[in-house]
């Protein structure tokens, strides 16, 4: 599965990494470590017409993006 580890990066980098990774297709899983990129990536991907969900994994968040 397509996966991006954006933990430690601050916005807009996680969104850019997501945008680039989406070019190689869905489903895509993005790992981030705080709520700001969760919100930004969710907004970006849903604006682009994807289905987005996230869940907490320990101290991090796992965002799943699919068609």
């Amino acid at each position: 599965m397509n996966q991006v580890d954006a933990r430690g990066y601050s916005c807009p980098e996680p969104v850019l990494m997501t945008k680039n990774a989406l070019k190689s297709g869905t489903p895509l899983v993005v790992l981030v470590d705080n709520m700001t990129p969760v919100q930004n990536i969710t907004r970006f991907a849903s604006n682009a017409g994807y289905k987005v969900s996230h869940k907490a994994v320990g101290d991090d968040f796992e965002i799943t993006i699919d068609k």
Partner: protein, 354 residues
């Protein structure tokens, strides 16, 4: 429509409240169109503790203290207080320094730029044009892979020091010992009552933490992702400031001349804000956002804030800061150098494609 309102309602509401509070602060004693100005207020604090000796801009602005502590409170409330750092701290210090050089050329941070527009200051519209241009250049660097690299979890004390410093400043403000400098002339002498200014900072700090309000982020996201979410907050601030000024009877006149704490040299108003926009994009957020993150445990942003404070001190020690009379030759040279430095930091941090 309902879902749009749900998505954007909070940021618009926050923007409206920030603009209104800014108008109230000016009405209650702050300089005109300066309800909030992160650059000016950090500069005033630098002066109050004697880092520069420009007698007219020295005061411990309670708004700054409130912003940091309000953000910290909201971050704890939302379980978002995370102590992180170690992402190119010295680069961030220098970028913060350069952003301040640009802001004191223009006479305001991006937030004050919006408030100036809300007060009818057309010079700030030129500033906005420069600001957007600087952000655009910054986004080109981001698209080429610019990164200040990862932050990592840090010891708790790293996240608490900046809030602790602001508490110390509050103690100095209230105790007002003789070694702290407080301006007796405008604009440093123009100040809203301490309790009001502190409360205003706390409210805005909490709102900005919750909503991620950011002047730079608004234009950046619009350019890079056609995402206008943060920009709505930016627009709301200007609208509410204008409405608030009109209702409260603050002076509003749409013109270039005679604007408070401003000058009408269009080129340097623009170039100052080009530097602010460019530097802030590389930092990941405007001066307000840096303060908010500094209150949320982000030690990288704390370093950027310290860079801004140091930059402010340099600006007044070496005659780089503009005044109502206009820009200085030293300041013009400093802005050009600042642009070169920011571009160099940008170029040095371009990642090869992974």
């Amino acid at each position: 429509m309902a879902s749009k309102l749900k998505q954007h309602g909070l940021i618009i509401g926050a923007g409206l409240i920030v603009g209104l509070i800014a108008a109230i602060l000016s009405w209650q004693g702050n300089p005109a169109n300066m309800g909030f100005c992160i650059a000016c207020f950090l500069r005033d604090i630098a002066g109050a503790v004697g880092l520069h000796r420009a007698a007219v801009v020295q005061y411990i602005r309670p708004e700054i203290i409130g912003l940091v502590l309000g953000a910290m409170g909201m971050a704890f409330f939302g379980k978002e207080f995370q102590v992180r750092g170690g992402s190119s701290p010295v680069s961030r210090f220098v970028l913060g320094f350069c952003v301040m050089v640009g802001a004191l050329m223009f006479l305001g941070c991006p937030l004050r730029m919006v408030l100036r527009i809300g007060g009818g200051d057309l010079n700030a519209v030129l500033g906005l044009a420069g600001f957007a241009a600087g952000i655009f250049v910054g986004t080109l660097f981001l698209k080429m892979g610019f990164s200040l690299k990862k932050s990592t979890p840090q010891p708790m004390v790293e996240g608490f020091l900046m809030p602790a410093i602001t508490v110390g400043l509050l103690a100095l403000l209230v105790a007002a010992p003789a070694f702290i400098f407080f301006s007796e002339e405008a604009p440093g002498s123009l100040r809203a009552p301490i309790a009001l200014a502190l409360a205003a900072g706390l409210i805005v700090g909490a709102l900005a933490q919750k909503t991620r309000l950011c002047m730079v982020g608004g234009i950046r996201d619009a350019i890079m992702f056609q995402d206008f979410h943060l920009l709505l907050g930016f627009v709301a601030i200007g609208v509410a400031a204008l409405a608030g000024n009109l209702v409260l009877g603050n002076p509003v006149s749409f013109s270039f001349d005679g604007q408070p704490v401003a000058y009408n040299d269009g080129l340097w108003n623009m170039l100052g804000m080009v530097l602010v926009g460019f530097g802030s994009v590389l930092l990941g957020g405007c001066p307000l956002r840096q303060l908010i993150l500094a209150g949320s445990g982000n030690s990288d942003s704390s370093v950027a804030v310290l860079g801004m404070v140091t930059g402010a001190a340099f600006c007044h020690n070496f005659g780089l800061a503009s005044s109502g009379k206009g820009p200085t030759a030293n300041g013009q040279i400093a802005v050009i150098i600042g642009l070169v430095v920011v571009a160099a930091i940008g170029a040095a941090n371009l990642n090869k494609k992974k």
